[in-house]
Amino acid sequence: MSDTARADASGTLPGDLMIWVLIVSELLVFGAALGGFMAVRTTDAAGFAAAQDHLDRTAGALNTIVLLTSGLFAALALRACEVGSRGRARLWLGAAAALGLVFLWVKGLEYAAKAAQGIGTETHPFFTFYYLVTGFHAAHVVAGIVILGLVSWRDNVANIENATAFWHMVDLVWVLIFPVIYLLR
């Protein structure tokens, strides 16, 4: 285990400070979007509930499993790299990225189903937020997959630690998005 790579009992943040600045920034952006969603919901709770009925909660739950499992694989990649197992680290990173692609595929199916029903961003304010928040999150998944690919190539502990921290931020945001947009009625 690298002394510089892991946080210690004194309370040092793991990884570079800048990745944490990015994580906090992203949490603030998604937090503002979810806060806005809840605030607008107060103006038409019945309309939001009716619109929410068009969402595929099973797909959302499946994507939660997929993304959290992908997060596990990313964390295992870092642990493998820390003990010098580069091949295993690359395998875990590849598995994490592959599950990221599965997440995007399921999300794509959801969007296609909405499009087939004629549901777009202008259909109802609920869907404006739905597409905005989940689309922005999906863009982060795409970025994360690219980053995981890059650190598979430049595979040192610091790079993998920062990449996996970004990936876990994507996990963290999803576990807040899913209940607020898909489940709260």
């Binding site: 892991r6 946080a7 210690d8 009992a9 309370g11 040092t12 943040l13 793991p14 949490l27 937090g31 979810l34 806060g35 809840m38 605030a39 919901r41 107060t42 709770a45 909660r57 739950a61 939660t64 499993i65 959290l68 499992t69 997060g71 596990l72 990313a74 964390a75 295992l76 642990r79 996996t164 921290a165 876990h168 931020m169 996990d171 963290l172 576990v175 807040l176 899913f178 209940p179 607020v180 489940l183 709260l184 009625r185």
Partner: protein, 90 residues
């Protein structure tokens, strides 16, 4: 199997799956439980999942002050969302 049980990351993943199952169970009882109770349960489960991700996946268990800070802010944010959620029911 024992290797998985001994690994904190796999245990965290198991915890996340269990919390996900509880969330699904709670959401499925939508018509049987009062909405404010259900909403509180769903957001509390989300907070529990966030804490596991912060502590184990992001390794903040090794930086307890930071873990408490992040968990506290996210918890406060979810309480705020819950407060807004209750407004239509007032």
């Amino acid at each position: 199997m024992r290797v998985w049980a001994d690994n904190p990351l796999w245990r965290a993943w198991g915890g996340l799956m269990a919390l996900g199952a509880l969330t699904t169970l709670a959401a499925a009882r939508g018509g049987q439980v009062a909405a404010p109770v259900l909403g509180a349960a769903i957001l509390a489960l989300a907070w529990a999942k966030a804490r596991l991700i912060l502590g184990r996946y992001l390794d903040l268990d090794r930086a307890p002050a930071w873990r408490r800070g992040f968990s506290g802010v996210i918890g406060a944010f979810l309480v705020l969302l819950y407060g807004i959620y209750l407004i239509p029911a007032v």
